[in-house]
Amino acid sequence: MTTNHTQEILNAVKKFGMKVELGLNNSIHDALNQPSILQGLNNQSRLVAASISKLQQTVETLSIPFNFPTKNDVANTTKLFIQAEEKLDLLEEQVTQLNRSFEEFKDTIVNSPSFSSNRMAGE
């Protein structure tokens, strides 16, 4: 009885909570979906982007005299590995295709009438 009662209360709390949550979220969406706010966000993002780019350029410049690798250096090296992997992938595909063609060719020869008659003559 108590368990059922608790469950009922919790279900009611859940239902009410979800309704309030939906209302709050809709209000937030409506408040943010204003041209002035979005324009402000856009301006802010441009400022942040410019600062990040300047910082990145400074780090790249400093990496030369201080002789440390940057994230771009590591990324460029990794890209070489990915290129090599793609070349290997292509080779693997070609070998598989060649194998398949070879198997098909073998089947054609074995099943051809001339091959069967030659084999019987040989026996």
């Binding site: 979800m18 041209p35 979005l38 990145q56 990324a75």
Partner: protein, 339 residues
């Protein structure tokens, strides 16, 4: 024996403070790897269908939502029903992948993955199932595919970007070029997972406490708690996304709506939806706050497929993936078209 009340609170505390739960337990083998991507094969013990399934998930979350655990796995449901399943897991990209564009995902990963799955399965045709943006990518790929795609299923995948269920003003401003986020995207290169998560939360539920109310209401049920913690773990497991992919999606899909206008090009090929002749099932969710039914439905009129249908699923954005079972309509639809 503890009282039910104690059990409930103990269950609640235990669940929210538990370590990361084990996920993705359906037996699988990797058949192909490239960069961070892996093509997984899930064999079926009682294979009934000749046409294997190829699953494509979104770029911002991990695909283990499709295999949350025993009895809660869509992949397990498919393999038990006699389907061979292949899952293309894009992996977690790093800074070196910041130039990966939509073209790259489609041509270097999806196309190659499908070729590998066909080779591995020895099948003459394949079915694609794409979830969320994975569904949009599946549709784009099918429109340029040389590979034999027999069936295409897109689940909660946006196609028409002229319809915007959220931030309609923002999208309008983006389309009119009054706002432009290219500079910040270029500066970041890769969008960190924390930002992806915040962005998704902002777009759907900026305030989100209802999952905890839901947990409390069933916290005395260990099995449901485990399912909750697995799902919650997935909901927090966002991955970085490359700025190049976002930029291409913003320009080609959101701003210029090229999938609908028919002007989209992938590589050097026109990706027109009318090129699609595969059997098509498009699925929308009735309570999806992210992708509305109006964004999905137009694909039905634009493809050349003779066999095409639209289904509305009761539930939210992740319903089909997280419920861990193949719903009857999907199972029957696939069964009729997989031999």
């Amino acid at each position: 024996m503890s009282t039910p009340k104690l059990n409930r609170w103990t269950g609640f505390i235990q669940t929210i403070s538990a370590k990361e739960p084990e996920v993705g337990m359906t037996p699988r083998t990797a058949v192909w790897k490239k960069n961070k991507a892996t093509l997984w094969h899930y064999p079926s013990k009682n294979k009934k269908y000749k046409v294997p399934l190829f699953l494509i998930y979104s770029l911002i979350n991990q695909p283990f939502i499709l295999d949350l655990g025993p009895k809660y796995s869509l992949i397990e449901a498919f393999t038990s029903n006699g389907f061979e399943v292949y899952l293309l897991d894009f992996g977690i990209p790093g800074y070196e992948d910041k130039d990966l564009s939509m073209d790259d995902y489609i041509l270097r990963y999806i196309k190659k993955g499908v070729q590998r799955a066909l080779l591995h399965s020895n099948a003459s045709e394949i079915s694609l199932i794409g979830f969320c943006m994975g569904g949009t990518f599946a549709a784009i790929y099918t429109s340029i595919a040389d590979e034999p795609i027999k069936n295409l299923i897109i689940s909660v995948a946006p196609i028409d970007f002229s319809v915007t269920p959220i931030f309609s003003e923002g999208v309008k401003m983006l389309q009119n070029e009054e706002v432009n986020f290219e500079q910040i995207l270029d500066a970041w290169g890769m969008i960190p997972p924390a930002y992806v998560k915040r962005g998704m939360k902002l777009a759907t539920m900026p305030i989100s406490y209802s999952p905890y109310l839901s947990l409390l209401s069933h916290a005395d049920d260990e099995e449901r708690n485990l399912k909750w913690s697995r799902f919650n773990y997935w909901a927090d497991s966002h991955i970085p996304i490359s700025a190049a992919a976002i930029k291409q999606m913003i320009v080609d899909l959101e701003k210029e709506n090229k999938l609908i206008t028919g002007n989209l090009r992938i590589g050097d090929r026109p990706a027109k939806l009318k090129n699609i002749t595969a059997n098509l099932l498009a699925v929308g969710a009735s309570h999806d706050r992210l992708i509305s039914i109006e964004q999905i439905k137009p694909i039905i009129d634009l493809v050349s497929s003779k066999d095409k249908s639209f289904h509305i699923l009761e539930g939210g954005h992740g319903s089909l993936a997280k419920d861990g079972k193949a719903p009857g309509y999907l199972e029957n639809w696939l069964a009729d078209r997989s031999n």
